[in-house]
């Protein structure tokens, strides 16, 4: 029994990096960055290929760095070539499909079932440690001068430009950081699941957004940055527990999982709105 919860929590930790990444791009920078799906798989492939060559730790670091590179491409498309932000993400994401195949030596699936990964002892404790460290670092960063500039860019780009801060540089750094987080998530997911698959990133961005919004709604995350960062993890834990619950009880036919995901997201978004309206009516 504890095993189900353990798996749910492990997955929650790994995918909370994607949520943190979306928090940074979607909430802080106010950019819909669709690089996520491909970037997640990129981190995964790099991490798995390194693990295959017996460098699991290096795999995590390089996976994270490669994610940052993908973010750099998206950012450059936006800032240097004038590609609209959603398209820039889609373009990078499309290109990454081929890049990911290349990383895996043009094979669509690599398994490392027999290799050692960074998860030697208790996987969950290690994952929780990494998540907490990353969350603290991110919180600290957002209060630095650079972090504040990035936050300001998302809030009011004209004001930032008027304060003689370069908003394009802020967008660039923000997107690189955001995709580094996605890459890190992918790298950890790959070693946790001991395989990389070209389709592993399908729909990650949906789950990321869902968990971001679930977390925000449930603990009123938009109140402060710290709360919002914690909400990313909480959202993932709730999401995975709900999924585990559905899978165990079969209260909803297993064939309808995706519909369920859509329902959970809709509920999470609609609840605060409906609550506000009810208040206004009273």
């Amino acid at each position: 029994m504890s095993y189900i919860i353990e798996t749910a929590l492990e997955l929650a930790c790994v995918y909370s990096f994607v949520t943190l990444a979306l928090f940074l791009s979607f909430r802080i920078l106010d950019i819909a960055d669709l690089t996520t799906d491909g970037c997640f798989v990129l981190g995964m492939c790099v991490s798995i290929v390194c693990t295959l060559n017996n460098h699991p730790l290096l795999g995590i670091l390089l996976g994270m760095a490669s994610g940052g590179l993908a973010g750099l491409v998206t950012a450059l498309l936006q800032t240097k070539l004038g590609v609209p932000s959603i398209l820039a993400g889609i373009i990078t994401n499309t290109a990454l499909y081929t890049i990911n195949l290349m990383v895996m030596g043009f094979s669509s699936n690599i398994s490392i079932l027999r290799n050692k990964t960074i998860f030697n002892g208790n996987k969950l404790i290690l994952l929780i440690l990494i998540v907490i460290v990353v969350m603290i670092l991110l919180r600290y960063f957002l209060s630095t001068r650079l972090g504040l500039s990035i936050r300001a860019t998302g809030d009011n780009i004209d004001m930032v430009a008027a304060s003689s801060i370069n908003p394009k540089a802020c967008i660039l750094i923000g997107l690189v950081m955001s995709n580094m987080l996605t890459g890190l998530g992918g790298a950890l997911a790959g070693q946790l699941q001991k395989s990389a698959d070209i389709n592993a990133g399908n729909g990650i961005v949906t789950i990321g957004l869902a968990t971001l919004i679930i977390g925000e709604t449930l603990i009123n995350g938009k109140k402060s940055i710290t709360r919002n960062i914690i909400a990313c993890l909480i959202g993932n834990i709730i999401y995975r527990l709900v999924y585990a619950f559905i899978l165990q009880t079969h209260i909803i036919p297993i064939e309808c999982l995706k519909l369920m995901t859509a329902l959970i997201i809709t509920l999470a978004i609609a609840l605060p709105y409906l609550k506000d309206r009810k208040k206004a009516l009273c």
């Binding site: 919860i5 669509s108 079932l113 997911a189």
Partner: protein, 322 residues
């Protein structure tokens, strides 16, 4: 904050309670997990469940296979399904397709035997030499299908290879086909795609190159587009040789591929023998001795299905009409 904590505990409690309520009774419990919803995988899953029913009738045992899980092609969902069935205390997990098998092997971690179904290349997938993992392979007999191609038309000059880059399944057969065709001095034209529309374009490019025949291995991406591209090939009078009978039912010309119902049956038998204490042996390759021919296509190409009599048992099908 209080709300969250209480919500969290309620969720935990519910999951825990449900786990406890599921106590295994007498008989055996099996979990069938397919990687995604797909015609071939559905056929295998159905065959596996049917065979379990047959076995329970025959031996008077109860085999509870519950409902068939689908991972929706999402590795994290597969992992959660895996941890769930492990807690349920099933006797065997039967994953269908590569990613499902890899994930179940990882999740089981030696606690529960894993009997996979329909993996074309278990070596590359890293599923060999693990003492709790075995299963069935649908490795395609590439040489045989090439021989069939030359039997139909001994003067083939140009052969198109249509496959996707996203399928581990395809690589081995494509390499085999290339080696065979090069040996024969036939020109090879490759066309690949990763989505429905790309496959359609790839198929069109092959038709434009005036190939004499097209070969596709057990490739799920191409399979998803088969109904649309089959018509184009038929109009251009190009026979489409494929890796599985599901293609032929969707309008391809012929396959010597594995009969997935047979494969499902064999997988269920293997799983049953392991449940009842049998040893975990090496995986079994299901022989591809069944020639499935589409008579609609035969008619339009002017070829009699009997031409394949030398190759094995012939099964005639027509294109499914919705």
């Amino acid at each position: 904050m209080k709300k969250i904590i209480s919500l969290f505990f309620v969720a935990m409690l519910l999951v825990t309670l449900l786990g406890c309520s599921k106590k295994a009774d007498d008989g055996y419990k099996v979990a069938v997990v397919k990687q995604l919803d797909h015609e071939s995988l559905d056929e295998i899953a159905k065959a596996i469940c049917d065979e379990f029913d047959v076995i329970s009738q025959r031996d008077g045992v109860s085999i509870d296979y519950g409902s068939v899980y689908s991972g929706q092609n999402d590795q994290s969902v597969l992992q959660q399904i895996g941890s769930g069935v492990r807690s349920d205390g099933v006797d065997v997990i039967v994953p269908i397709a590569t990613l499902a098998a890899q994930t179940m092997t990882l999740v089981s971690d030696g606690d529960i035997p894993v009997v996979f179904a329909a993996i074309s290349d278990p070596e590359t997938a890293g599923l060999t030499d693990i003492d709790y993992v075995t299963g069935t392979s649908d490795a395609l007999n590439t040489k045989q299908i090439m021989e069939m191609m030359f039997k139909v038309n001994p003067d083939i000059k140009k052969v198109g290879l249509l496959y996707s880059m996203s399928e581990a399944n395809s690589k081995k057969s494509i390499d085999g086909a290339k080696a065979y065709l090069k040996d024969k001095g036939v020109e090879i034209i490759e066309a690949t795609g990763n989505t429905d529309d790309e496959i359609k374009q790839a198929a069109t490019s092959l038709i434009a190159s005036k190939v004499d025949a097209v070969f596709t291995p057990t490739d799920n991406v191409v399979m998803a587009s088969e109904l649309t591209i089959a018509q184009d090939f038929m109009d251009a009078k190009i026979p489409h040789y494929t890796g599985a009978d599901s293609f032929v039912k969707s309008g391809a010309f012929v396959t010597c591929g594995v009969n997935y119902t047979e494969l499902g049956k064999l997988t269920a038998d293997l799983a049953y023998s392991i449940m009842t204490g049998g040893e975990v042996t090496d995986y079994e390759v299901v022989p591809g001795g069944v020639i499935t021919v589409n008579t609609d296509v035969c008619e339009s190409l002017g070829i009699s299905p009997d031409i394949f009599l030398d190759f094995g048992e012939i099964v005639e099908v027509t294109t499914i009409k919705d």
